[in-house]
Amino acid sequence: MSYPTNVKIVKLPCSGRVDILHLMKAMEEGADGVFVAGCLEGDCHYQAGNLRAKKRVAYVKEILDKIGVGGERVAMYNLSAGQGPRFAEIAREMTEKIRELGPSPIRIAKRQAGERPTTEEAA
């Protein structure tokens, strides 16, 4: 199983731990896109963690659309922990989508301002 090396994984015990601020900060730091991989709907070990994450992702999408960064840069995917190949497929799909969109306007602006790339950008 292989997935694009540009994808940096942040492990959390449940997608319900994903906070609006986590997604906002990742974008603010210059990530081109962020996707949340939660369990299949109805299969959350903590009952509704993935449904909460879904709402938070939708909220962040709305903000990013309004501030000119683009809500399509964040996404929510649902898959089980046993679906490794599906994870790789999603990672490729997301990478493709983001590549088509091009670098995030935040990253472009940071580069123009001559700021040092963050670890995420360097990766």
Partner: protein, 222 residues
């Protein structure tokens, strides 16, 4: 507590887009509990504004702070040095906090970041409902602890009216009829005889009809 909800980000951007240094000020009181204007919401707004300015090619400085309360002078004064560093403040406090901030920092533009809605309660996480309209003359003792001013769409002193149907108000099937609630509650308390003694017309001068209000507690007053 006072319930508020965040203003749309585009409305806030429209107010502050030409500024160079902006402070987003949350409040640790009511608006923190109703998830509209605490430190977390200040950080979310701060992050969104920074991203907006970045992509627009502007080097605007945006920082966040949250005050213990924006409706008390000592807490506002604690932020005085910080506020001085910025062109303007976006306050996420209720309307009272926004105004007190503006009064305290005369000459500093202050923008509201939330819409203040009502005095209410937390029904469940993420859901708040109205309970009190601060009319200044509480009649809950005669209405089974349910306020007809806040819960009846017409604020009727005696009800229900003809628009009550199956316990719901005519304005929406999702809105309970306040007077139906009062009836059921008084029935449970064995106090239905209260309906035989209509409430007197309400004196609204203790409410907004009497103009802006003031409370003085002599024993504490200086």
């Amino acid at each position: 507590m006072i319930i508020a909800k965040p203003k749309p980000i585009d409305e806030i951007i429209n107010e502050v887009k030409d500024l160079d240094k902006i402070l987003v000020a949350g409040c640790d009181g009511c608006v923190t509990v109703c998830e509209a204007g605490g430190m977390k919401e200040a950080q979310i707004l701060g992050s969104a504004l920074r991203m907006y300015f970045r992509q627009a090619g502007k080097d605007t400085k945006v920082d966040e702070i949250s005050l213990t309360r924006q409706c008390d002078r000592p807490y506002l004064e604690q932020a005085a040095d910080k506020v001085k560093e910025y062109d303007a403040v976006v306050s996420l406090a209720c309307g009272a906090g926004v105004q007190f901030l503006a009064e305290t920092f005369n000459g500093k533009p202050i923008f509201p970041g939330v819409n203040t809605c009502f005095i209410g309660v937390t029904e469940q996480k993420g859901e708040w409902t109205e309970r009190c309209q601060a009319c200044g003359d509480c009649i809950l003792a005669s209405t089974g602890g349910i306020c007809p001013i806040a819960r009846c769409s017409k604020r009727m002193s005696n009800g229900p009216c003809g628009g009550s149907s199956n316990g719901n108000c005519e304005i929406s099937k999702d809105t309970a009829c306040g007077w139906h609630l009062i009836y059921e509650r008084l029935k449970e308390l064995g106090q239905l005889d209260r309906f035989e003694r209509p409430n007197e017309p309400k004196n609204w001068s203790t409410s907004r009809d009497g103009g802006p209000r003031k409370v003085i507690k002599e024993v504490s007053h200086q």
